[in-house]
């Protein structure tokens, strides 16, 4: 069970992420109405937001240090923020600005942060081998840093999943594999893609622990991650954790979600993990109602400041496109 400070930090972090995602959503539609044009507006391109999946990010990240490596997917913001990425640099990168994490070269699916050893990839499951490599480096360097690889339930049917788990298990590397099962891969439901019900059962194919967290509960995730992280840190090898979580928005912004029913969407809103967690903390007296309110206000200010920073930052020089191909 996380201590009070950790609970409050997790609460704040989930709120900060949610507000960030909601704000990016608003910004994303600037210049895209009335006619939606993916190339237009303040932020072009695809935009995969993580609202609903905050518990996974914060429950795991609570156990990590900045030197631990984290790899994420096309849906990376919650994980990046929870692992400590500078929110202004993140926002500025999404805006394509010179002050962004990659000076505007990467964009929202390609965030690389040496300060928090964070990376992500828009190619499904292909961030997983990189995580194995980070852990391999740490082992060679005699460090007790670990690597965490986040991926969706859709990714678990990609070859890279299998190869990465086998290699990490074979070499007993300190990797925690975290499957964010939000039940959907774009429009394809999990049962139309995965031959078995729970990916955590696939851990048996590699002789490693497989843990199922059946609901989107930050505390349960915290507990499962704690065990996996400390196993990894003490040289006990990799683990696989599967969390049943919720994708509150469309796959990407602009997704009409014709494949989901109104009822499903309403149900997800109703069981929103942040509100549930907040209620629970207030009930358990870990948080007062006014502290809770305060958290929303503080997070709002932090997010707004980051967005302002991004908005007011300059674009890179066009010809900078030709730089940084080679070091």
């Amino acid at each position: 069970m996380p201590d009070n400070k950790t609970l409050r930090d997790m609460h704040y972090e989930m709120i900060r992420i949610r507000l960030f995602e909601e704000t990016i959503q608003k910004v994303y539609f600037e210049g895209k109405t009335p006619a939606f044009d993916i190339a237009a507006g303040t932020v072009p391109g695809e935009m995969h937001l993580s609202a609903g999946q905050e518990p996974v990010a914060v429950g795991v990240a609570a156990h990590l240090r900045p030197s631990d490596a984290v790899t994420a997917t096309h849906r990376p913001h919650h994980i990046a923020l929870a692992h400590g990425m500078d929110i202004r640099k993140l926002a500025a990168e999404i805006f394509g600005k010179e002050t962004g994490l990659g000076h505007g070269k990467g964009g929202h699916m390609h965030l690389f942060d040496p300060a928090t050893n964070f990376g992500c990839s828009g190619i499904i499951a292909e961030g997983m081998p990189t995580a194995v490599g980070h852990a391999l480096a740490f082992k060679k360097q005699g460090k007790d840093d670990i690597a965490v690889s986040f991926f969706g339930e859709g990714a678990a049917n990609q070859g890279a999943f299998h190869e990465s788990l086998n290699l990490a298990a074979l070499w007993q590397l300190g990797v925690v594999f975290v499957c964010e099962d939000n039940a959907w891969a774009i429009s394809v439901p999990k049962d139309k893609a995965t031959a078995i019900a729970n990916n955590s059962d696939r851990a048996a194919a590699y002789g490693i622990p497989g843990v199922l967290v059946p609901d989107n509960d930050p505390i349960a995730i915290y507990e499962a991650a704690g065990e996996a992280v400390s196993r990894a840190r003490r040289g006990g090898g990799p683990s696989l954790i599967e969390v049943k979580t919720d994708r509150l928005f469309g796959h990407f912004e602009g997704d009409a979600q014709a494949y989901r029913t109104k009822e499903e969407l309403a149900l997800l809103q109703e069981r929103d993990a942040i509100r549930a967690f907040e209620r629970r903390l207030i009930e358990s007296a870990d948080l007062t109602a006014s502290d809770a309110q305060n958290a929303w206000t503080r997070a709002r200010a932090e997010v707004d400041e980051a967005i302002d920073f991004a908005r007011s930052s300059p674009y890179p020089e066009p010809s900078a496109a030709l730089q940084h191909v080679f070091a």
């Binding site: 006619a35 939606f36 044009d37 993916i38 190339a39 237009a40 932020v43 072009p44 391109g45 695809e46 990168e93 394509g96 600005k97 962004g100 990659g102 000076h103 505007g104 070269k105 990467g106 964009g107 929202h108 699916m109 390609h110 990839s121 828009g122 190619i123 499904i124 499951a125 292909e126 859709g154 990714a155 049917n157 990609q158 070859g159 890279a160 891969a185 774009i186 429009s187 394809v188 139309k192 893609a193 995965t194 602009g254 014709a258 494949y259 674009y315 890179p316 020089e317 066009p318 010809s319 900078a320 496109a321 030709l322 191909v325």
Partner: protein
Amino acid sequence: MAIETKRLLTTSKAISEGIAQEMERDPSVFVMGEDIGTYGGIFGATEGLLAKFGPDRVMDTPISETAFIGAAVGAAISGMRPIAELMFVDFFGVCMDQIYNHMAKIHYESGGNVKVPMVVTTAIGGGYGDGAQHSQTLYGMFAHLPGMKIVVPSTPYDAKGLMIAAIRDDNPVVYMFHKGIMGLGWMTPNPRATAHVPEEPYTIPIGKADVKREGRDLTIVTVSLMVHRALDAADDLATEGIEAEVLDLRSLVPLDREAIIASVMKTHRILVVDEDYRSFGMSGEVITTVIEGAFDHLDAPPVRLAYPDVPIPYSRPLEDFCLPSRDKIAAAARQLMGR
């Protein structure tokens, strides 16, 4: 005299209509891919097919490109004519072995005894801020690898005719549609992405280039979305008295070298416009074709305008800097004309 009202279709609807007509005609045709069912394909190439043909012939797949493209190879050998969609060409790296070592080579390795009649459809191209892993064209890379036809349509009319030809072809065909030619409501509109498309099925031979605009002063050779950019530039050039011929290759394999040479024999000048990476790709191949076939007919060295050899940057000013555009094409043409 009856007034003829021409039926207008977007490219994506032209493609899905072509597929639907072939599925009606031939029960061995079926479609596989991610989000090609309920969703209708991320770029609409399979819209309406699930409703019409049901889940046995329009199959959403797991994110397992190696398995389902490989399954298409097996199914093709066993008498089916599969269409498998690789959502973005950028993802080729997770499944290329099935594409180039299996789909493309089995017919040859078998000494002609085994046919692999299948189509891989895939979306190409950038210009909308999708970054380094979702914006590439890569047709030059595919065309380098022998054994598969590479189709790169530019218009709704061509798209339907080439799709039907691809499905009927007894060879593997990689059919690459640029997101910017599809006529999608949510992509920056391209006025020529909606055009007349006949309702009845028809084919366009794979391997024949098409003069999209005639001209006497220089030849602009290109494919896909850049055909439209070149036509726009040709309009601008015409106001200055420069008449550009725009040659749409329509396929890179087979490459219609005769058409390239014939056009250059007429205009004596050539500009190649290429959204794919500059080096070791289409632009060099087309220029070398001209050197091999029309060296003595050139009034000026051939010129290419291509994507620089850099990963696709995300930020708009950076991406714009890299992409060939109407203005850059016109400028390159003027330079070629010595203006």
